[in-house]
């Protein structure tokens, strides 16, 4: 039986949540194709969370242990994935910073095309057919992967975790020899290690309606009230230097698919809407009832954000306190 290789992602010796999404995605495909799932864990020493991979459908857990694999080692990871993918029908990555860096290297080594940031996948005969947003989500492209193996990355937050218990037997695999052309020396984390807008389940974004960069405090307070929310920003305020570009949502920023997206003081330029329209629920708060953001919002409040947002923050705090 053919296998699907799901490439796991760890940081500081612990699997990241996206890894379980990747295994879930691989399991769904494997069930359609009649294949098995191998979850490949690349790291230095023991990686915590590995035991949970069976729950989400890993038939086997392959561990590739190397002293230089604690931090990302692009050349070594790529060589290891290629070796582990021998005979596989498909290789599935999470479309994270690491996954999006690693997958194309692997595809090029294997001489096959690569479908990045897919949001859906079906099986058509011998091939996979993937759906992926293009133009930052203004359109959806359907593509057939005719190379073997099929190489794809799945956008975070698009595959709901689903349990499908399998054996998950752990086996160690050899790390092939590789030339370390690039060395990652460190990860610099900000003091308040911020959640990334691309991965958070709740994103609270602010735009020009905030009037002054200091007023982003309102957005931060609301995000903090949710507890697990990331702070996003429109291009206008990033270009004005109010927020770091890493927070920008839109066509020249990040495309996000959180469970809840709250757009505050954002009118809804076409390039912004493209980046967040796949959010499951969208809330907009804007004083202009004709703002385009209300066309995509599930729930809108027309009003002065300086009055509405503090009230919303209070109410969210109450809800969270009730648990």
């Amino acid at each position: 039986m053919a296998a699907i290789l799901a490439v796991m992602e760890q940081r500081d010796g612990a699997l990241r949540k996206v890894s379980y999404e990747t295994v879930t995605a691989a399991r769904l495909l494997a069930d359609t194709m009649g294949a098995t799932v191998d979850a490949l864990v690349v790291g230095a020493g023991a990686v915590t969370g590995v035991e949970q991979l069976a729950i989400y459908g890993a038939d086997r857990v392959l561990t590739a242990d190397h002293a230089s694999f604690g931090l990302y080692q692009p050349d070594g990871y790529a060589a290891t994935v290629v070796a582990a993918a021998e005979g596989c029908a498909a290789i599935v990555f999470g479309a994270t910073a690491t996954g999006k860096d690693l997958a194309p290297r692997v595809a090029a080594k294997l001489g096959v095309g690569y479908a990045s940031e897919i949001t859906g996948c079906t099986v058509d005969g011998d091939h996979l057919v993937a759906t992926r947003p293009v133009y930052a989500g203004k359109a959806l492209q359907k593509i057939r992967l005719t190379g073997s193996p099929a190489v794809l990355s799945v956008r975070p937050n698009t595959v709901p975790l689903a349990e499908s218990p399998k054996a998950g037997a752990v086996e160690s695999v050899a790390v092939p020899e590789f030339e370390a052309r690039v060395t990652v020396t460190e990860i610099k984390a900000p003091a308040d290690a911020a959640l990334d807008v691309a991965e958070a389940t709740v994103v609270v974004s602010g735009g020009r309606g905030l009037k002054e960069p200091e007023h982003f405090k309102l957005i931060e307070d609301l995000a903090a009230a949710f507890g697990d929310a990331a702070v996003g920003a429109s291009r206008a305020v990033v270009d004005a230097g109010w927020r770091d570009h890493s927070a920008q949502v839109g066509q020249t920023g990040k495309t996000v698919s959180p469970d809840l997206y709250v757009a505050i003081g954002i009118s809804g330029a076409i390039q912004h809407l493209a980046g967040m329209r796949t959010a499951k629920t969208i809330v907009a708060i804007n004083k202009d009832a004709d703002a385009p953001i209300f066309k995509v919002a599930d729930y809108g409040i027309v009003g002065d954000l300086f009055e509405v947002v503090p009230r919303l923050t209070e109410e969210i705090k109450k809800v969270k306190a009730e648990g």
Binding site: R16, Y72, T96, K100, D101, P104, R105, A107, A108, K109, G113, S116, E117, V129, R132, P133, Y135, A136, G137, K138, A139, L140, Q141, K142, I143, R144, T146, G147, R181, V182, T183, T185, I187, K188, P190, D196, V202, H245, S246, Q248, Q251, T252, G253, L260, A269, R277, T278, I282, F294, A297, D298, Y299, G300, I301, V302, E307, V308, R311, L312, I316
Partner: protein, 249 residues
Amino acid sequence: MKIAVCLKRVPDTTTKIVIGGDGKSIDEAGIKFVPNPFDEYAVEEALALKEKAGAGETVVYSLGGDSSQETIRTALAMGIDRGVLLKTEGSADGLVVARALADAMEGEGFDLILFGKLAVDDYNHQVGPMTAELLGLPCVTTVVHLEVADGAITAEREIEGGVEVSTCRLPAVLTCDKGLNEPRLPKLKGIMAAKKKPLDVKPVELAAASIEVLGLELPPPRSEGRIVGEGPDAVPELIRLLRNEAKVL
């Protein structure tokens, strides 16, 4: 320093997408095409590095039809020394593009080959690292900070909740992200000079693709939303809807 920049012609990001008659591509009528915004960071970085080094050459490569000449001229107007159009018709998958670029740049002696992190049309996020792999060069993607010294680079790239710091020797391939620099605007003098700069047109035969585009469609419209109310008094109702209807609280 000899630096190559790979540049793609893309629709302006303010473009409203209309699906073309073939059902697989966009209707290009009336669309304004621009250099890919992320590639402009690569152009700027190449120019700044050459200026800092005080000597060298910058070359822009683009793969596409004759219309891409205009895009190349924009980079020349910004200050790039010369351009190469790898002329082809139709579209290609990322690996096919990477192969054509790698073939064209192999043996040219570039110290750095710069890309944008992705093109805002295909959103493929792959041609840079694929080209590096095909050329056997080190590669760092989505670079937001770069230092070049003594034949090596230190690059910072943004990852979830942090910044990853990498080092490698030159020659190398980098893909550039927003935050790396502020691209300069072409000046009138540059635009005039660009007209006289060399632009080689080289027809290329593309390798067989392993990604086949079956269709392109607009995303399903979001179901009609509603205005919950006006002002802060609408907040309790919003909370109720988020809890009971959307079930996100």
